[in-house]
Every structure is written in structure tokens, then in C-alpha cells.
Symmetry: C2
Subunit: 131 residues, 2 copies
């Protein structure tokens, strides 16, 4: 500790494990799944309806991964025609604020990003290779 450890960096280093974890939590559907589950517990088909673009397979695999990572709990409610409820787990709630922040960030900056995209695409096919 002779070195001045004054680096304010709260992120010492990003190991592959960290990346993997974030990948599994921030993947294509997990963010939305966690978002709606934060709102209230849902059943399988309720989730499908809440996220129309997701297919059954993707939803299943995403849910299982989230369950494996301790982000959601899979609760069998009844045993009659089978009823399963997915609810946010303790670990999942630690992500809630991040998710909200992420979603509101995207809402806030979507316009600016679209603007940047247009500028980029414009100058792309203009100053390119004139015959």
C-alpha cells in the first residue's frame, strides 16, 4: 500500500466473470423480464403477453438463466392444471434501480442517439467513394 491508492475507481478490474454475469443479466430479454417482474409477479403466459416480441423458447431459457443466477424465483402456485409464478428474487431487487436507470436513460437519450445516427449515416454515403 505504499502506492497512493487514491484512484476513485470503484471498478478494480473487469474480469471475464463480471462480463459474463452482466451479459446474462443484461441480455436481449432479461432486462424487460426483470422490469415487469419488478412490477409484480407474473405467470408464464402473462410474461409472454407483457413482452409480445419474445418467443416461448427465448422466454423459457431467459427465465431459467435468471432463476439460475438467483434473480427470479419460480414458484409453483397450484397443482391443478399447473400454475407457475415467477417473481423477482432478493438478488433481483438489487438490480431494480439499475434497470430503472437504464430504461430511463434510454428514454432520455433515444432522440439524441437517433440524431447522431442520422448524422453518421448521412456523412457515410456522401463523402465515400465517388466514381
Amino acid at each position: 500500500m505504499t502506492e497512493t491508492a487514491r484512484t476513485p475507481a470503484p471498478t478494480p478490474q473487469v474480469t471475464p466473470e463480471h462480463r459474463e454475469l452482466l451479459d446474462q443479466v443484461l441480455d436481449k430479454w432479461s432486462l424487460q423480464i426483470l422490469d415487469v417482474l419488478c412490477e409484480s409477479p407474473r405467470r408464464f403466459n402473462e410474461l409472454r403477453r407483457a413482452i409480445p416480441a419474445v418467443t416461448q423458447k427465448s422466454l423459457t431459457s431467459a427465465l431459467r438463466r435468471l432463476e439460475r443466477n438467483g434473480m427470479v424465483d419460480r414458484v409453483i402456485v397450484s397443482t391443478r392444471p399447473v400454475a407457475v409464478e415467477y417473481r423477482i428474487a432478493a438478488l433481483g431487487t438489487t438490480l431494480q434501480d439499475l434497470i430503472d436507470a437504464l430504461l430511463s436513460w434510454s428514454a432520455t437519450n433515444l432522440a439524441a442517439v437517433n440524431d447522431a445516427r442520422e448524422r453518421f449515416d448521412d456523412q457515410a454515403d456522401s463523402g465515400g467513394t465517388p466514381p
Copy 2:
């Protein structure tokens, strides 16, 4: 507006566009790229060294996407043997806090997640289908 619009939800709805944007910013490499670029501007091969696992192609495409989305600026420094510098753009800095939060979240919860994974995997092959 006869309906009580008192939902405190800061995220009205997640449109596909929002998802797409987050996907492009939180994808496999962008998070790390933005993270190291937040620290200081880097050249192409400096980035490769900073993120050893990334290949040239992935880095190139990620950088171009980030550039297109206005997250990073691509600056030609010299013209001799060609020198290019990537630096975080204005839009990119709006993400900095989120990125830090995400990375520190993963650092904080990695152990708990690994624990949850073990439990999940254990009960998976134990209570399964005994012959």
C-alpha cells in the same frame, strides 16, 4: 385522461427502439470499451491490449456502432503512419455513471450469484429422474 394516470412509473413503456438502443450499448464489448474510454482516450491497439479477449473485428464493429450512436468520437490525430484516437463523446459521458454502477453491481454480487448458481445446479441433477 379520465383514467387515473397516477402510475409513478418513470418508464412508461419499453418500445423496441429502447431495447435496441440498450442492446447496442450494453452488448458484449461496448460496456468495457466505454469503461476504458471513460478513463482516457485510447488508440485502436491500446484498446485491444486493454481488452485482450476482444478480436479486431469485434472491436472494429463495436467501435463503429458506438460511434454511430454518438457514444464515442473517432479522431484522426496524425496522418503519418496513421494514428486514430477514440474518445468518449458527450452522449457517452451520460452513460458513465450507469456503467460504473453496473460494474460495481457485478463486483458486489458476483459471489452471491455464483452461490445461487451452485445451488441451482445441485438441485438440478439430484431431484431429477432416478432410474
